[in-house]
């Protein structure tokens, strides 16, 4: 019965959405949206009977009576920024309750970057928009395509090397409660470019945020793009984070998915290695506490010969939290000389925390190097005793060793400002600070 209520509410939402003249979508886009809505109607919200969602119940979203319509924009103007105390550096792109705020955004590296609203760039980026998103089989891709009305298109212009990171911060105020915000982004890195892009989330006190974000990244020949999902909202966040990337020859795509907080986090990351000598590095760190759930689903598609993919995902599970890792590597039949590596290591620090890890390799070429490994364990007692034998308390020894375990991932971040900030936050999170000594 509940299912019917949800469906009819989404149906009504789509009717309302279509009828809203203020949104002013082009006919072409409206057609895409209708098709995506039809896809979503077929797929529906996934239940735990769906293999891809087996360990990740999303009842808070599917049965939470959330509206997928945009939040009214009027409340945003008065918002004070820096409420979360985040340092200000780099190029800032601000979204408040899903709406892009040009006035609060600030681009310092003007040369080499073009920023526009995604809706305004769909026509000029025809042939790119919605080509990576998988609306036929991913319900949240379909839902996002059907309902997004805002988001950003970042173009890194040919041969530009962007000095400062481009930070996309999503801020949620209590006004956004009960809205499942759909945001759509595009990142277009032209040939020979270099840039770091960061997605951040700030949930203000008394707010509960729900977001379905989808970003399509196009990494052209010899472009080197680093993407960081920095998920530390401090207040309840339910996030479905869909990232699709496609790489051309000699390009590098590095994605760090760092989540140390959040009620329900699902990262869907899919990378297509489309031309030779493309390399991707997919790093992940998740630290889950309370009854939170952090799920990383990855798919790497090796489509052509001579490409590399490296996955390093590490997790720390505390309290009654749940971690999920599913890493798919598809080596297509032409993709000879593929080098694919996957590692997932987990520390389960309480008896009531659970980790589900599943490597999934499908290899159709014969001359490839693929390896994978997964571990689930506790801290090394010998190491703990060694630290304690030098006078370090058990609590601090645990924190220090956990930090050492986790920082292997953050150390891979190339931007030093961001790395330093993340490491400091990590030490605070784990209750241990070298700086404070």
């Amino acid at each position: 019965m509940n299912k019917d209520i949800v469906e009819s509410s989404i149906d009504n939402d789509f009717e309302t959405f279509q009828a809203n003249d203020a949104l002013a979508f082009s006919d072409a886009l409206m057609q895409v949206k209708r098709a995506a809505f039809a896809d979503f109607t077929t797929l529906n919200f996934p239940s735990t009977k769906n293999e891809e969602w087996r360990f990740t119940p999303i009842l808070a979203i599917s049965k939470g009576a959330l509206s997928v319509l945009p939040v009214a924009i009027s409340a945003n103007a008065a918002l004070k920024l820096n409420a979360a105390g985040k340092e200000e550096f780099g190029n800032k792109i601000i979204f408040i309750n899903g709406h892009y705020s040009a006035s609060k955004s600030n681009i310092v590296d003007e040369k080499g970057i073009k920023i526009s609203k995604v809706i305004d760039s769909i026509e000029s980026q025809e042939g790119k928009f919605n080509t990576l998103s998988d609306n036929h089989s991913e319900p949240f891709s379909a839902l996002n395509t059907a309902f997004f009305n805002d988001g950003i298109c970042i173009e890194i212009l040919k041969n530009a090397s962007i000095e400062h990171p481009i930070i996309i911060e999503n801020i949620f105020t209590s006004t956004a409660n009960k809205h499942f915000i759909q945001q759509r982004n595009m990142i277009i890195a032209e040939a020979g470019t270099k840039a770091s892009i960061v997605f951040e989330y700030t949930v203000q006190a008394n707010a509960t945020a729900y977001m379905n974000i989808l970003s399509e990244c196009f990494v052209a020949e010899n472009a080197h793009i680093e993407l960081l999902h920095d998920i530390q909202p401090n207040h309840p966040l339910h996030l479905i984070n869909n990232t699709f990337a496609a790489q051309k020859k000699d390009s590098t795509f590095t994605c760090h998915s760092i989540a140390t907080d959040g009620t329900l986090i699902r990262n869907n990351l899919s990378v297509r290695l489309e031309e030779k000598n493309a390399i991707c590095y997919l790093n992940g760190l998740y630290i889950a506490t309370d009854n939170h759930l952090i799920d990383n689903h990855l798919a790497v598609h090796h489509l052509v010969p001579n490409c590399q993919s490296h996955q390093l995902y590490k997790g720390v599970l505390k309290d009654k939290s749940t971690g999920v890792f599913n890493g798919k590597i598809f080596v297509h039949k032409d993709a000879q000389k593929t080098n694919a590596y996957q590692s997932n290591k987990n520390l389960v620090l309480s008896d009531t925390a659970v980790m589900h890890t599943k490597p999934q390799l499908e290899i159709f070429a014969d001359d490839v190097k693929c390896s994978h490994g997964a571990t689930v364990g506790q801290l090394d007692e010998n190491a703990k005793f060694y630290l304690m034998a030098r006078g370090i308390s058990q609590e601090h020894a645990t924190a220090l060793l956990t930090y050492a375990f986790a920082s292997e991932v953050t150390e891979k971040i190339s931007n030093t400002e961001i790395k330093k900030r993340l490491n400091t936050q990590l030490q605070t999170k784990l209750g241990y600070s070298f700086e404070a000594l």
């Binding site: 010998n382 034998a389 030098r390 006078g391 058990q394 220090l400």
Partner: protein
């Protein structure tokens, strides 16, 4: 400084220390020798507080306090130091940060303010020179990829940094070449004062040529069976441990 009385300890039902007793006073160096498997390393681990070993009887007074009542970290902060036979590799924690943490906790325990960064670095430099460790080791992960000799020198370095009352060296000489042995021994000799003490556990007499003990004890089947001066070590070297074993069977 430390008074061990009738200590019984073991692991999973198996008793290894069977009534071990020993008194060590400030300013003294004691050596414990004995054949393999007689409980030398169990003694070191039990005193340091490794909780895989269970104490079933006996008492240990350390500097006027009940040692067995304290966890490993508190024993260390009270001034007990164990130089590990097999120092643990800890990826992701540099020796510098490790020492900063250890010194900070020790000072806090004794009601002292945190050490100034400048003072800490000066102390590091001084103690590195003592054991001839290059400063590049300090920023590397603790013991990771260190050679056997480097690990043992790092143990002595940590000992020098923490300035303990009682240092227990558990087979520190094993796996050391003659140069590393000399460096380690030299470090110990320089750190020796009238206020601290050392318990040196070793299988061979070799280390005792460089660190001259005041007392030598022979351990066999979980307790001390013979004590003497430094000449006892030479006697053992000459006669081997069979002599002790036979003597104890006769008894």
């Amino acid at each position: 400084m430390i008074s061990i009385k009738n200590l019984h300890a073991g692991i999973e039902e198996k008793e290894i220390l069977k009534g071990f007793s020993l008194d060590i006073k400030a300013g003294e160096i004691h050596a414990i020798m004995g054949p393999n498997g007689t409980g030398k390393s169990t003694l070191a681990s039990t005193l340091a507080g490794r909780n895989t070993y269970e104490v079933t009887a006996g008492e240990v007074q350390f500097n006027g306090k009940d040692l067995l009542d304290m966890e490993a970290d508190e024993r260390a902060r009270e001034g007990l130091f164990l130089a590990f036979q097999y120092p643990v590799e800890i990826p992701g924690v540099s020796t510098t940060n490790f020492m900063r943490a250890a010194i900070a906790e020790k000072r806090k325990h004794h009601g002292l303010p945190p050490m100034e960064a400048k003072e800490f670095l000066a102390l590091m430099r001084e103690k590195m020179a003592l054991v001839e460790i290059d400063k590049q080791f300090m920023s590397r992960s603790l013991n990771e990829g260190f050679s056997g000799g480097e690990k043992k020198r790092n143990e002595i370095f940590q000992m020098a940094m923490l300035n303990p009352l009682l240092s227990i060296l558990d087979e520190t000489d094993s796996g050391l070449d003659i140069d590393a042995l000399r460096i380690v021994a030299n470090g110990v000799n320089k750190l020796r004062t009238k206020d601290n003490a050392f318990l040196i556990i070793t299988h061979y007499q070799r280390l005792l040529e460089y660190i001259v003990p005041d007392f030598v004890h022979v351990m066999y089947e979980g307790r001390i069976v013979k004590s003497g001066g430094k000449e006892l070590a030479l006697e053992l070297e000459e006669k081997g441990y069979d002599w002790i074993k036979e003597e104890n069977i006769v008894q």
